[in-house]
């Protein structure tokens, strides 16, 4: 349910240097400066590494067409939450290290000429956890899509709810899910693009409510994190459990699409549904 359990539960690459990192799948040494050009794909095994949000936006939209909304929206600390660090300090650190104010970036853009509403979550910002700002920005995005009668694409990457905002965090599931209901009533397409990892409160709200669900290969997608499940049922999880192909065969996603094919696939889809 929580973003942090995912952080610790996921495959950790060896400590990356400033210059290179190892592919978490095959161990290949990948030069950091080459990654953007390669769309953060492993040059050896094609593994889909996590993609920074601005690279993701560039991948999905026409050049310079993205216009950001609500970039100045910031978290509060409604619970005065302190664990080993105070919540405001955690946010500050996340803002500094990611250059974003929050775990989602939203805006409008063109995709092969077509105007879309686009939200992209940032796993590097506190595990992509959904607090009030993430919920509010995505809700506004969908409400704008209805006003302007445009399709919506949301790229998920999240460990779930942001515990530090307590109940407010939980309520973002309600807020975003009911906004999807309005998209449905307006007859507007919403494509949920699930990337590694999408779990907890994000997967249990807007991310699983798309008209079409597209996943990147080998993404971890599920409700509970694998570690929580293992602890609960006290048995080892099967190979491939909660990965994209598992969800495909269990009927929860429509397709698993290579990163290079995402933009043309979205374009084709919208040309059919609009």
């Amino acid at each position: 349910m929580s973003w942090f359990s995912r952080l610790t539960g996921s495959k950790k690459p060896d400590i990356p240097s400033d210059l290179w990192k190892k592919c978490p799948n095959c161990g290949e040494v990948l030069i950091n400066k080459d990654l953007p050009r390669n769309l953060f794909l492993c040059s050896k095994c094609d593994h889909h590494l996590r993609m920074p949000i601005w690279d993701r936006i560039a991948l999905l939209t026409d050049d310079n067409s993205f216009v950001e909304f609500d970039s100045d929206m910031e978290s509060q600390d409604p619970l005065n939450f302190i664990d080993s660090a105070a919540y405001p300090d955690r946010i500050k650190k996340a803002v500094e290290s990611t250059d974003s104010f929050e775990a989602v970036t939203v805006g409008e853009a063109r995709l092969e000429g077509r105007e879309i509403m686009l939200g992209v979550m940032n796993f590097d910002f506190m595990g992509g956890s959904m607090g009030s700002v993430v919920g509010e920005k995505l809700t506004r995005l969908m409400e704008r899509a209805i006003e302007r009668r445009m399709p919506t694409v949301i790229v998920s990457a999240s460990g779930g709810a942001r515990m530090q905002e307590g109940i407010y965090s939980l309520m973002q599931m309600a807020k975003t899910s009911q906004a999807v209901a309005l998209l449905n009533e307006a007859g507007l397409p919403y494509v949920s693009l699930l990337t590694d990892p999408t779990t907890g409160g994000v997967s249990a709200s807007f991310a699983m409510l798309g008209d079409v669900h597209i996943a990147e290969p080998e993404a971890l997608i599920g409700f509970a994190g694998p570690r929580v499940i293992e602890q609960t049922i006290r048995q080892k999880l099967p190979e491939g459990f909660q990965r994209s192909d598992f969800l495909l065969s269990h009927g929860h996603i429509d397709m698993v699409i290579h990163r290079r094919q995402l933009k043309p696939t979205l374009s084709k889809l919208f040309s059919l549904l609009l």
Binding site: S205, A207, F223
Partner: protein, 325 residues
């Protein structure tokens, strides 16, 4: 009582003494009424002291008490024989962790949805400790649609540690089941009253928590994560659950202040399990009082208000202005 709390021990000791004195008085035919009433008074005072100053971690214990009245207990007390249980999601299974059906509260027939815990181990295994699988949420969704078809309001009892985390649950789409339940509940064209009667555990609670009114028993909790889970993750020490409980602000008073719930229903001293009828009556009164006006609203307006209620939840700030709620 099948379960005792550390913080209740002084009370329980006094209660034992009281009971001994009473036996002694009866058997020996001695007049101990003065002593007895003194102790009885002391017990009440102690209860009041203890239960009016419970810390969050203790509230969580009360909320999870094995004897705490469950959904079916309230349904029995409030609907009597009028309750008809409906089972099955029409897809995969019936989920005993979720109770659905129709029943009558006074003169008003409603759909009834609720997580169901057990009062002992055997019952809890059958009820999966009140943790639904996807089929539980798909069953409640089905029954809510029946309510909509027949224009009956929906009463929800929330009492779950959370949706079950397991292999089958993931295979069958626990995420989708919760998400769709939230989404469709937000558009049900009939009034919905939710009562958080015990544990409101995360997405598994919220899944059936989209009410026009959301009420909470005094010692119930409603939280994005359990204190234990939060402690394990943020404090990296499950034993810090007490600290996490305090930090998460999951008590009824916290949630009323935060604008998440509409009202708190007081419990008898010592918790709901000390007097289930007292709590049931309070729930029944709320239903009788609130439903008629909600039922009189045009459905579109009802939906608009419900949307706005949840739309407003969250705390953030924008650079240009100082603060938003």
């Amino acid at each position: 009582m099948s379960q005792e709390f550390e913080f209740e021990k002084p009370i329980i000791e006094l209660e034992k003494r009281l009971s001994d004195l009473r036996s002694l008085s009866e058997e020996g035919n001695i007049d101990l009424s003065r002593e007895i009433s003194a102790i009885a008074e002391k017990i009440e005072a102690m209860k009041s002291d203890i239960f009016h100053s419970l810390e969050p971690w203790q509230v969580a214990q009360v909320a999870r008490h094995l004897d705490r009245p469950s959904t079916l207990d309230y349904v029995k007390l409030l609907c009597g024989d009028s309750f008809v249980e409906l089972k099955g999601d029409r897809l995969f299974a019936d989920d005993p962790a979720m109770i659905c059906g129709f029943g009558r509260f006074g003169s008003i027939a409603t759909a009834i949805i609720g997580h169901q815990k057990g009062h002992d181990t055997e019952e809890n295994i059958y009820r999966n400790f009140g943790m639904p699988h996807p089929e539980g949420y798909r069953k409640s969704r089905r029954v809510m649609h029946l309510a909509e078809k027949f224009r009956k309001p929906i009463i929800v009892f929330i009492d779950t540690p959370g949706a079950f985390p397991g292999i089958g649950a993931e295979e069958r789409g626990q995420s989708e089941a919760i998400a769709r339940s939230i989404m469709e509940m937000s558009r049900m064209r009939v009034p919905i009253l939710c009562f958080i009667i015990g544990e409101g555990g995360s997405g598994g609670a919220l899944a059936v928590g989209i009410g026009d009114r959301v009420y909470m028993l005094e010692h119930a909790i409603y939280s994005v994560i359990s204190a234990e889970g939060c402690a394990a993750i943020l404090w990296k020490d499950g034993a810090k659950a007490r600290d996490a409980a305090a930090a998460l602000k999951f008590r009824s008073t916290d949630l009323l202040e935060a604008g998440i719930i509409d009202a708190i229903l007081p419990e008898p001293l010592g918790g709901a399990h000390r007097n289930a009828e007292f709590v049931a009556n309070a729930i029944g009164d709320i239903i009788q009082k609130e439903l008629p006006s909600l039922m009189a609203l045009p459905a579109d307006l009802l939906l608009k208000k419900r949307y706005e209620k949840f739309r407003a939840m969250g705390k953030f700030k924008l650079e240009q202005d100082s603060e938003h709620a």
